[in-house]
């Protein structure tokens, strides 16, 4: 990412609640406060909360669903080339999350992907993906 950056708006009344309740399984990634942390007993959590905690621990793996290599730059925060990926979670195929890879890696449908966390600024974290 270049010197400029685009941060997620984190005070939207509509999506704030999803983050607060950890509704990653709704197909919406948590953008703030989603950091590795001790796992509570999974049995004490709803399936949605378990999903969020697994994602936060970096355990979640997924498969590459689709991607595009962007070669036409539209914003200084995103110098080209970069690759946008859409990753489908292995254990929750209804959930797909965005990610960005630098450059133009060789990719294939169904390729295993691993989550990692990019801190944009203190308190603002993006779940990202790398080739597993």
């Amino acid at each position: 990412m270049g010197a400029e950056m685009i941060l997620p708006f984190v005070a939207d009344r509509e999506t704030e609640g999803f983050r607060r309740r950890g509704r990653a399984a709704a197909g919406l990634q948590s953008l703030r406060g989603l950091r590795p942390r001790p796992a509570p007993a999974d049995g004490a959590l709803s399936p949605l909360r378990r999903l969020e905690h697994r994602l936060a621990r970096g355990e979640r793996t997924g498969r590459l669903h689709t991607w595009t290599l962007v070669t036409h730059q539209v914003h200084p925060a995103f110098p080209t080339p970069y690759t946008l990926v859409v990753v489908q979670l292995d254990d929750a195929p209804d959930v797909r999350l965005m990610g960005r890879l630098d450059g133009a890696p060789e990719l294939a449908e169904g390729q295993p992907m691993q989550v990692w966390f990019q801190t944009l600024e203190p308190g603002v974290v993006l779940p990202q993906w790398r080739v597993a």
Binding site: E4, T15, L69, H72, A77, M98
Partner: protein, 307 residues
């Protein structure tokens, strides 16, 4: 959608005559493919757009979004660049026969198409519509009132809109989380449209398909039932959508080669065709489908030549 709103206002007695128009400085002001006037360190999203889940990753434009959809169509159905090119070339051929079209004087071969630079793979420059300045207006009134006017009227046979089975909140980018991201709201809207119109896709003489990108034409041909799911690539490659084919589309050059006026130039083109006034006139055309923007929902109208 504007046709439906105007029709509803007239039928309910709220208006006698309505003008629907669109004016767009898509080139001289904000270039539509730029992702908006974003610069510097700033926030994206909010306001129910859900852009906050996409823009911070660098997903900023419609072209990038449709590129992700195109890749899925290629992976699932084997759609090829040459098939996308068939859409671009068809629109260009039709613009070449339309003097006011922006691309009137510029012929394009498949080699030209394939040689155009990549923007967001697998979409090339010529998979994108034009960024242009333009304006269009359509006057809608009752059929009774229209009988007395100088020009022959064109009748609105039916209008309908629809959303996909698993429609997501937000604007365009959440299409990437749909179960099937190559499925459009136009399918459900089309089912309603054909019932209301009392005709089907097989009855259309021509169609003006919202061509923001080549892939959007393929997806809508499938959604509105002109071919089966995944079959639009071979359908367009067969020449069906060209002049002389079973369903000539975008007969003024469309958004790809006439101008991009957010679907309104398609409405104007449909009226010209059904009045027999088009530059590239399709002889005997009586029924025409026009579709609106394919994301996040879809809308459409069937026009009929007046008896």
């Amino acid at each position: 959608m504007m046709m439906g709103l105007a029709m509803g206002a007239i039928l309910s007695g709220q208006a006698k005559t309505v003008i629907a128009f669109r004016s767009l400085n898509g080139r001289s002001e904000t270039r539509l493919g730029s992702g908006g006037k974003r610069a510097g360190h700033q926030e994206a999203g909010g306001g129910g757009t859900y852009d906050e889940y996409y823009v911070p990753y660098g997903l900023m434009t419609a072209g990038q979004t449709f590129a992700l959809m195109t890749r899925r169509h290629m992976l699932e159905y084997g759609t090829t660049p040459a098939q996308l090119g068939a859409v671009a070339m068809t629109c260009r051929e039709h613009a070449n026969a339309t003097p006011h079209a922006i691309m009137h004087d510029k012929a394009m071969s498949l080699d030209d198409y394939l040689a155009s630079r990549m923007i967001s793979t697998p979409l090339r420059l010529f998979d994108f519509c034009l960024e242009s300045d333009g304006a269009c207006a359509v006057v809608i009134t009752s059929a009774e009132r229209a009988k007395d006017l100088k020009k022959p009227p064109v009748l609105i046979r039916a209008v309908a809109g629809g959303e996909p089975q698993d429609h997501r909140a937000g604007m365009m980018f959440p299409v990437t989380t749909r179960h099937d991201m190559t499925e459009l709201g136009g399918r459900k809207g089309g089912e309603v449209l054909w019932k209301r119109a009392g005709v089907g896709p097989q009855d259309m003489d021509i169609a003006q398909i919202y061509d923001c990108f080549t892939i959007s034409v393929l997806l809508q041909l499938e959604a509105y039932g002109f071919c089966g799911k995944g079959e639009a690539g071979p359908f367009v490659e067969s020449g069906a959508i060209r002049r002389g084919g079973s369903l000539p589309i975008n007969t003024g050059g469309g958004h790809m080669s006439e101008a991009y006026v957010h679907g309104m130039n398609h409405i104007v083109q449909a009226v010209r065709q059904l009045r027999g006034e088009a530059d590239m006139q399709i002889e005997g055309a009586e029924l025409c489908l026009c579709t609106g923007g394919p994301l996040p929902v879809g809308s459409s109208v069937v026009f009929r030549r007046a008896a």
